[in-house]
Symmetry: C2
Subunit: 309 residues, 2 copies
């Protein structure tokens, strides 16, 4: 190869990243893996496996698994090594939605344009389907590959802590207790950090861990995940105000109806958009150390900021 | 030491095993460890940690942790190595009780002589407290020691499978679906094996694993745990018929009222007692390979068969 050729290749414009293709491929891989990991619908007791699969395959956007796979790619890892962790995170996310939708919690009839789990299977089975998906998440995660830097112990602790009473569940509790009360912007940030940011951050960290990433890479992924997670929830708040139920596939205006504090209700729509943008910029900045390999993470963060549902 | 002395010692009668002392010591160790593993009640959000601790420290008999510690002792292990797993199993057991007691499930107002979790904290928090204890179980279990024969992966898979949709949760689903229906003795056995035996068996297996037990020892513990677990649930069925609510600390006669099939209702009280005895004998037989070190397991199996609450 001539020096001129090498030089030419070096300065050739980077092919723009095809996010649509990446999302389609990652969703496909995740769906296939989830299907392999979960007992078939016909396995006894059929009801529970039907209920688990009903919500797991209800058309979720698979954003957390996509972030996990994208983080693995950013660290030079293989998709196959990240897949069990991507699936585990999606099981945790789905369980939390099933339980959040229960009458004793947010009391939602629709999710992703379909009836919620308890509306189809009854409350008892919905509680158990959530329990089963949470348990399944750990069974799937434990089947990941271990690395010199990250053991099964590290991976399980990562998931348990992000989903536990100090993070994901803490957010749900604070959310439940804050309904109808006047809460501050700081308190709302506390809820969003735990209810959304923790598991999103966990998803990208797990992706990195599946690729045996360095400590510096893990730190960058944490910074990225935290900021994208918070931006994600602020956008969710904004969409709840600005979009119709049809556009969202779930009941719009629920937050206002439930007298739930949101970013728009506390700081206004304009400032909410500005904060989401600032957070996304911070997330972009964290990606520098990955160079071109962060294209998927960069694309996902942009997509999450600009989405309309 | 003279040969005569050695001979004398060999044939001296074994000091009878003091089960009461063993149970008191194991309960004490487990309670202290659980207190260390769980966030304090004052940690935000305080509600969830209060709710988790309310049910976890509601005076449970700590039978599963005791079986775990006794199994570790049978294999020559240290209590300290078994404690995280004993605590994890108790968290799983407590979560399953909180969710089983919910109005959408068994709808129970009392448990261990105290109001059930949802009666004190409301349904939403009770669902979340169960979720948090299930998640906490994996966080605690992941902090166990790993061994050449048993890695963290093995331990997590063991717990996830015993608690998942094919075992513990399968039992609860079948139980829920069987209410008011005429079911066979075989179907009832299916429920009991999953709802009770699976986690009891898991408890003793984890105890063995914490002691780096041999494959033969693990097989013996599995046989022991399965039979003791099934006997345990049959005794539970019998006590529900023969004891008062005051004696049980929970609502007696619930099974009959809910038209739930039980061993006494299907095969009669006399035959139920006989089956429980046979299962316990099978459990005893499995203990032979452990010699005198199985004293605690032997004592616990006897106690579980003879208990009156």
């Amino acid at each position: 190869m001539s020096v001129a050729n090498a030089k030419h290749r070096k300065t050739a414009p980077q092919k723009p990243f095809d996010l649509t293709a990446f999302l389609a491929a990652s969703t496909d891989a995740v769906n296939q893996a989830l299907d392999r990991f979960l007992p078939p619908e016909t396995t006894a007791p059929a009801t529970i496996h039907k209920a688990m699969r009903y919500s797991l395959f209800a058309g979720g956007k698979r954003m957390r698994p996509a972030l996990c796979l994208a983080a693995a790619a950013a660290c030079g890892g293989k998709q196959a090594d990240a897949l069990p962790l991507a699936c585990a995170v999606e099981c945790i996310h789905t369980y939390s939605l099933i339980h959040d939708d229960l009458p004793a919690m947010d009391d939602d009839d629709y999710r992703r344009g379909k009836l919620t789990n308890h509306k189809v299977f009854g409350e008892g089975i919905a509680v158990l389907a959530g329990d089963a998906l949470l348990t399944q998440a750990f069974e799937i995660a434990a089947q990941c590959r271990s690395w010199p830097r990250y053991s099964h112990q590290d991976v399980i602790l990562e998931i348990a802590r992000a989903s536990g009473s100090l993070q994901l569940i803490a957010g749900q509790v604070a959310d439940l207790e804050g309904e109808g009360k006047k809460i501050s912007a700081d308190q709302l940030k506390y809820i969003h950090e735990r209810k959304t940011s923790a598991l999103l951050c966990c998803s990208v960290r797990l992706g990195g861990m599946s690729a045996n990433c360095t400590a510096a890479q893990l730190k960058a992924l944490t910074e990225f995940g935290y900021n994208v997670g918070l931006a994600f929830q602020i956008i969710d708040d904004i969409l709840d105000v600005t979009q119709t139920s049809e556009q969202l596939g779930k009941t719009a205006g629920k937050d206002t109806a439930a007298q739930k504090a949101t970013y728009p209700s506390i700081v206004g729509l304009e400032k909410s958009r500005k904060i989401a943008g600032q957070l996304t910029n911070r997330a972009f900045a964290a990606l520098k150390i990955f160079g071109n390999r962060a294209a998927a993470l960069h694309g996902l963060a942009t997509f999450l900021l600009q989405r309309d549902r």
